[in-house]
Symmetry: C2
Subunit: 143 residues, 2 copies
DNA sequence: AAGTCTATGATTAGCCA
DNA sequence: GTGGCTAATCATAGACT
């Protein structure tokens, strides 16, 4: 990582970039597994290659972690909001380790609505797809 | 890492475990950033410490990647299913890089239903929380 | 495309501040 | 709980298969 000598910038050559992507993705997954094992934590990694292919790893499972994340973000207490810092490129979200209750304030008026409404929309669509899928499965194999 | 010499197993000492968790989490985020920068990919990492605290990083944003992941999983084509391999501890999901169309078969009869029904349940709950939250925001600050 | 090998240098466990 | 330091270990770019 961050092999400072190996400039961390976009690799132009497509083949090379993909090779690096593959190698680093493997390394990332490996590290995640180690973190999970050593610290008895839960974690998930999701990556999308430029080609749009998805690669995900998670413990206990990707879905489990994702759902937990969504639940934590959408309704930790239905009023309690975790600090969110987005900086165009990066986005780091963290809660306090202890209870040094940090700023539970968030620009609800400006951003909250927009984001939540979008989330709502996204989930509504998602739900429909899942329901449709279930229907399809039921009609195909109702064992 | 997998510092084979430093046995990759659960660290018993709580303080030590947390220190390791913090350090490795930072390293994981760093690696993720590098992957994103070098390969022009999208990625997200979500971790939960034992204490239940959430730490997430994502590019362009955690939510963006998560939504994309969910969308890809719940309805890539509404009938097309990506290979899923779960092994109790780990779970790796991957699509083919090219079009060497691999096994689009999945144990729909045994597992599909259960998982999808659970997803459906989860999303229904999520949606309710979000709607409630939006209602709360509206009633509190309808600017 | 994916695995191997090697040199290089990045990561980190442990200790101390 | 975070940050610096050091020694030890590990990841990976590049070349080759």
């Amino acid at each position: 990582m961050v092999r400072t000598k190996v400039e961390i910038k976009r690799i132009e050559d497509k083949a090379k970039r993909h090779t690096t992507f593959t190698k680093r993705r493997q390394g990332l997954f490996k590290k995640t597994k180690e973190l999970v094992k050593r610290c008895d934590a839960e974690a998930a990694v999701i990556t999308f290659s430029l080609a749009g292919n998805i690669f995900a790893f998670g413990h206990p499972s990707v879905d489990n972690v994702v759902n937990r994340y969504i639940a934590a973000m959408s309704g930790p207490e239905l009023g309690e909001v975790v600090p969110v810092h987005e900086e165009a490129e990066d986005a780091v979200i963290g809660t306090n380790e202890d209870e040094e209750t940090l700023g539970l304030e968030v620009p609800l008026d400006d951003m909250g609505m927009t984001e939540l409404e979008e989330l709502d929309r996204t989930m509504t669509e998602m739900k429909k797809k899942v329901v449709d899928k279930i229907d399809g499965i039921i009609s195909c194999s109702k064992n």
